[in-house]
Amino acid sequence: MNLHVSSRDIGERTLDIVSEMKSLEGPLLPILHEIQAEFGYVPQEALPIIARELNLSRAEVHGVVSFYHDYRDHPAGRHVLKLCRAEACQSMGGDALAERVKSLLGIDFHQTTLDGAVTLEPVYCLGLCSTAPAAMLDGEVHGRLDADAVRDLVAEVRA
């Protein structure tokens, strides 16, 4: 993931990705996933290129990007911590745990720490409902979290 790419590079890489994937049936979501994997977010500059290549309007592409929670319009922090906010985790004290994480990081959900170390996001279910409360840090899952465990997770992302 390269966070410092020029608009020209974004255009070229986007075109490569779209060309490679446009033969898929219903290619837009796979293309957007690939673009986000490449740049860490879906840059505005990529949208007109996708629209042109897929014969869609820019509004249609924008509509899709903005509909789904996963697609970011700006880069996330170096780490992304997703805390489960759904019922099973609530039943095991997930709300209190979320408050603790927020105060440890000094940010709210959907925010990134000032040093760019970590972005905190809510997630509605990781399918770890029998090992609640659960979280995902950069794609790695963590279950049965307690105050000590979240302190360790926060220390890890702060390091």
């Binding site: 837009l28 979501l29 996933h33 985790c89 039943s91 997630v123 029998s130």
Partner: protein, 518 residues
Amino acid sequence: MSVRIFVPQDAAALALGSERVATALTREIEARGLDATIVRNGSRGLHWLEPMIEVETPEGRIAYGPVKASDVVSLLDAGLTTGGTHALCLGKTEELPFLKNQTRLTFARCGIVDPLSLADYRAHDGLKGLERAVTLSPADIVTHVTESGLRGRGGAGFPTGIKWKTVLDTPGDRKYIVCNADEGDSGTFADRMIMEGDPFVLIEGMAIAGIATGATKGFVYIRSEYPHAIATMTQAVEIAHKAGVLGSSVLGSVKAFDIEIRTGAGAYVCGEETALLNSLEGKRGIVRAKPPLPAHKGLFNCPTVINNVISLASVPIIMDKGPVYYKDFGMGRSRGTIPIQIAGNVKHGGLYEAAFGLTLGQIVDEIGGGTATGRPVKAVQVGGPLGAYFPRALFDTPFDYEAFAAKDGLIGHAGITVFDDTADMLKQARFAMEFCAIESCGKCTPCRIGSTRGVETADKIAQGIEPEKNLALLADLCNTMKFGSLCALGGFTPYPVTSAMNHFPDDFRPVPLVEAAE
């Protein structure tokens, strides 16, 4: 022969440190020069014992758990490779009561086999259903599924065979099988477990569906929150393709069927079948009005079977053992088995597959062992975020589609989330509305606006503002959403809200407004 040691790679086991256990075990086996192989299996479903590792012995598999990486040395010292005695030893896996009392049909292999070994899959009766299906006519396969009484396990409970028959009878140059693996309901993880623990059973079920309906292409739409399931399914499809289970000649027959794995993008509403189809087409996940049914005009306007993971994964055993075998389990119009997911504040959480008919009380108190916190059970939410909250007074309700509907609830995808007596049901009702507001696709007004008004009204009740008027308003709002919404998101959000209001009225009692001191 090398001893096989099983260390689960299921996400629930990983979340509890099974990767560290596997790493420590690998290192220690090498250092000691032991003749042992580590197999990364799925989970057996006893999640309070995860990471639960097993060793294969001549007497059967012996389980140990919950194992930490720091236990590895003492386990090997105690003779782990021969099933030696240790404080963490649980005895023979098959004899553990939680497993022994289950009827594992859909989950027969989950946690037992190496998920990505087709040889292992075959050795445990895998592909028998598909081998049978390629010798039958499409109509005969559909009849088998219809006669088994299998109903959609995603929540709606629609008879699978009837859905398939509609697609079979609809002419079309191109037809699709779409597997709904957008398992977004809190309290559910059966789809995830089967995809991570026995992916070939889903592939086999989809191939059978393809042959039965004339569809040649399948999509598995997996939510992005399940990266491990996506990785396992992607590898399994590749393996199946190479082995000729998928491709232009399924198992050497004249039938063609292929599968593509697709990833969702974090929208809960895409678990609704028509929103999922739009998402697969590359559009916003907006719900479509029905008719037309997906069976007539589904993906790219083609006749489409869209089924939940568990529905499709239950088909191979029906084809292998016959519809009567499957139908003999269950009660009333709920036939076969259901993988119950016991979650939340519960002592023995995990996956429990059983014939329909266990009572809610048996599941929560006896199988689940009560709460993890040791406090009394206050409420259980059955069927995910759109399911009703049931109080102890309804614990005699048998697990059956119709029995739950009769008590104004639903079994949904069979997830049960347990809450202890510290739960605030007004807060839970508010959350149901909040969740609907966050996830609404926005197409219909009752869901889009009703959910936001619902949050506001719940807040007013909590603040003691005109409580009686606002309780009546909330009930009225629920009624509008229930009957006026286009799909189950807006239509079922009232279930948790009204059940919380009806069964736990004390939590909705007005709190007097605190007047500011003069």
